[in-house]
C-alpha cells in the first residue's frame, strides 16, 4: 500500500489531495472571468476563434440543464427527449416575471423551482404508464411543441411570440463587489497580467458579475443534486434504472420515485432556463425546441450519463463545439471554405463516436485515467493505519 502513490480513501493524504484539488478548481473558476473578460481571440490554422466570457456563462447554464436531464435519464433511466420543454418554461417564466412583474432574476427562482417541480411531477405521472421508447417518443414530440405554444396568438403579448422577448432588467454589479480592484491587482501580476485588462468597462463588469452569479447558482444546483443522489433517493433511482423489478421487490416505491425524479429533473431544468435568460437577457421560442432537447442528450452522453462531472463536460461540449465550428470558416490549414451547420454535424459524430468508443462518456474516461495516475484504495474494513502517510 505504501509508496506507489496509492492513498486510502478518507485518509489524511487523500483528504489533503482533495482539498488541494478543490482549491485549484476554485482558483481557476475565480480567475477565468478576468482572463477572458477581454474576449480572447486566437488564430489557429488561419481561422480566428473567440473565447469570451459570454460563451462560458452560457456553457455553465447548459451544464445545469444537462444536470437536470441526468436525473431523469442518466440516473433513473427514463429516456426523456423533452428536457428542453422544462428549460424553456423556466426561461420564459423568469422573463415574464422580470418584465411584467418587475421581479429580480434570482427571486424568480422562488417560482421557477417549485413551479417546474410540480410541472415535472405532472409530466412524470403519464411517464409511469408510458415506458421506454414510447416515453422517448412522447417527450420528443412535447419538445417539438414548445415553440408553437409560445407563439400562440393568445399568449404572444406576454411571450413576445415569434419575435422573442427582450428582458428589460439589467444585472449590474453592486457597488460592494470588488471586481475592478481584483482586475487591477491581476493586471499587475507579471505574466498572467498581460491578459487581464487594466480596468473593466461597464459591459465587462456586468459580464463578470453575471458569470459569478451563474457559477454560484450552478454550484448550489450541483451540490443539492449531489446530496440528493448520494442518499436514499439516489440509491432508489439507480436501483429502478438497473433493475426495476428487483427494486420494487425490495420495497422501493417505483411510482413515487419516478415522478420525484421527473420533478427534480424539471426543477433543475427550470433553473437552467432562468440562468439562460439571465445570461442573454433575451428568450426566443425556437431556442427551446427539440434541437435543444437533442443537444442536451448529446451533452448527457458525451459527458457521461449518470455522473455529475459528466454534466460539466457535456455543458462545455454542447456550447463550444458548435460555437467554434461555426468560426471555422476554412478547413484548417487550407483555403477550402466551410459553410453551413458543421458544428451540429460534428456533435452528431461526437455522439456516435462516444457511444462507440467510450460508452461511459467522457467522465468515465477521465475517471479511468485518474484512477491510473492517482490511485485511491478503498479504506480497509478495520483500518487503524493511515496508510501511505509516513
Amino acid at each position: 500500500m505504501r509508496g506507489l502513490g496509492i492513498v486510502v480513501a478518507g485518509g489524511r493524504r487523500h483528504r489533503r489531495r482533495q482539498i488541494i484539488g478543490w482549491a485549484l478548481f476554485a482558483l481557476v473558476v475565480a480567475l477565468i472571468p478576468f482572463l477572458i473578460a477581454d474576449t480572447y481571440s486566437p488564430t489557429v490554422f488561419g481561422n480566428r476563434y473567440t473565447v469570451g466570457l459570454g460563451n462560458l456563462s452560457q456553457a455553465i447554464a447548459l451544464m445545469v440543464a444537462v444536470l437536470g436531464l441526468n436525473i431523469a435519464t442518466g440516473y433513473s433511466g427514463q429516456l426523456s427527449l423533452g428536457h428542453s420543454f422544462f428549460v424553456g418554461s423556466g426561461a420564459y417564466l423568469t422573463a415574464v416575471l422580470v418584465n411584467d412583474f418587475h421581479w429580480s432574476y434570482l427571486s424568480t427562482l422562488g417560482v421557477v423551482v417549485p413551479g417546474l417541480f410540480m410541472f415535472g411531477v405532472l409530466f412524470g405521472i403519464p411517464a409511469l404508464r408510458i415506458q421506454g421508447l414510447y416515453l422517448g417518443l412522447l417527450t420528443f414530440a412535447v419538445a417539438a411543441v414548445f415553440p408553437s405554444i409560445i407563439r400562440l396568438d393568445k399568449v404572444a403579448d406576454r411571450t413576445g411570440g415569434s419575435n422573442g422577448l427582450l428582458i428589460d432588467s439589467d444585472l449590474e454589479a453592486p457597488a460592494w463587489a470588488p471586481l475592478d480592484t481584483v482586475t487591477e491587482w491581476l493586471h499587475a501580476v507579471p505574466g498572467v497580467g498581460s491578459r487581464v485588462p487594466d480596468g473593466l468597462t461597464g459591459r465587462q463588469e456586468e459580464a463578470v458579475y453575471k458569470y459569478f452569479l451563474l457559477v454560484i447558482v450552478a454550484l448550489v444546483c450541483f451540490w443539492l443534486v449531489r446530496n440528493i443522489l448520494a442518499g436514499r433517493v439516489g440509491r432508489a433511482l439507480v436501483a429502478i434504472r438497473d433493475n426495476p423489478l428487483g427494486a420494487a421487490a425490495n420495497g422501493v416505491n417505483l411510482a413515487a420515485y419516478k415522478t420525484l425524479s421527473f420533478g427534480i429533473s424539471a426543477a433543475v431544468g427550470g433553473v437552467a432556463g432562468t440562468m439562460l435568460a439571465m445570461h442573454s437577457g433575451f428568450v426566443g421560442a425556437d431556442e427551446f425546441g427539440f434541437s435543444l432537447a437533442i443537444l442536451l442528450i448529446v451533452g448527457l452522453i458525451v459527458g457521461g450519463a449518470g455522473t455529475l462531472h459528466g454534466a460539466v463536460v457535456g455543458g462545455l461540449a454542447i456550447q463550444f463545439v458548435p460555437h467554434w465550428s461555426s468560426q471555422t470558416q476554412t478547413l484548417p490549414g487550407t483555403d477550402v471554405a466551410l459553410e453551413g451547420p458543421y458544428g451540429t454535424a460534428i456533435l452528431g459524430g461526437l455522439l456516435i463516436a462516444i457511444i462507440f468508443a467510450l460508452p461511459g462518456g467522457a467522465a468515465h474516461g477521465f475517471r479511468r485515467i485518474k484512477a491510473r495516475l492517482m490511485p485511491v484504495a478503498p479504506r480497509p474494513p478495520q483500518a487503524e493505519i493511515v496508510a501511505g502517510d509516513a
Binding site: F101, L138, S148, F290, V298, G348, G349, F356
Partner: protein, 315 residues
Amino acid sequence: MATDGLASLLGVFDISLDKLSNGELWLAQFFRGLSDGATYASVALALVMIYKSTGFINFAQGSLALLGVYLVYVFSVEQGLPVAVAVVCAMVASAAVAAFVERVFIRPFPPDHVLPLVIVTLGLLLIIDSAVGIVWGFRTRSLPSMFPRGAPIEWGIAQLTWRTIGNLGTVFAVVGLLYLLLSRTKTGLAFRAVSSNLESARLVGIRVGPTLGFGWALAAAIGTLGGALVVPDLLLEPSIMLRVLIFSLAAAALGGLDSMVGAVLGGLVVGLARNLLVTFLDLSELALATAVAVILVVLLVRPTGLFGSTRVERV
C-alpha cells in the same frame, strides 16, 4: 395573471356553430386529412419496419427521407427527369445510403442494447440534417408533385384532388407490395424471422446483418416516397421532415409501434384529427400540439398503441 391565463386558454377554443354545420367544410377537411394522413402513414410505415425488426425507433428516419426528397429535387428539377422517375431513382439512392449507414453506424453495436442504438440514430439525425443544410443550404424550394393538379370530383369547396387520390393510392399500393414481399418471399420470411427471434434466425442460417440492412434500405425507400408525397404541399427546406416525423411518430405510436396496419390507420387518423380539429376548434397554431395530444391520450389508455403487441423491453 392566473385568471388572465385561464380566459385566454378558454378563448383558444373558438367553436363556431356555422362551421360545424357546414357539410362541405367537413368533407373538404376529410379529404385533406386523408391526403395528409397517407403521407404520415408512409413515414410511419418506415418507422414501424425498423422498430419491428430491431426494437428501436430510428429517429433519423425523417432525415433519411429528407435526403431522399432532396435527391428527388436534384433528379427532377435539376436533371429534368419526370417526377415519378426521379422519385424511383431517389428511393433507390436513399436505400443505398441507408444500407451504408446501417452497415457502418448500426451493425457494430450489439442489436439487443436498445438505448445506445437510439442515441446513435439521434446522432445520425444531427449529421444527416446538417449535411443536407451544408450541401443544399437553407433556401426554400418548391418540389413538383408526381400527380397532376386539379380535382376530378368536386362538391362545392370539397375537392377530391388527384393528389389526394394519388397519395392514398400510393400508400395502399406500398402496403400491398410490402405485404406480398413479407409474406410471400424468402427475403420477407428472413426479415420476419429476424424480427421475431434473433437467435433462432441466426441458427437457421439467416444472415442477420444483411437482413437488417435490407430492412433499413426498404424503410428509407418508403420514407423517401412518403417525403415525395408530402413535400409538394409544403416547401422544401432542411427542417421540413422533422415536422413530418413528429406527425408520423404520432401515427406510429397510435397504431402501436410494431403494427404495419396500425401505422397506416394511425397515419390516417392523425391526418384527419389534425385537419378536423384544426379547422373546427380553430387550432391552426396548435397542429403539432394536437399530434402530441393524440400520442399522449392513446398511450395513456393503451401504452403499446392500438394494435401494438406488448413486448418486454428495457431501455
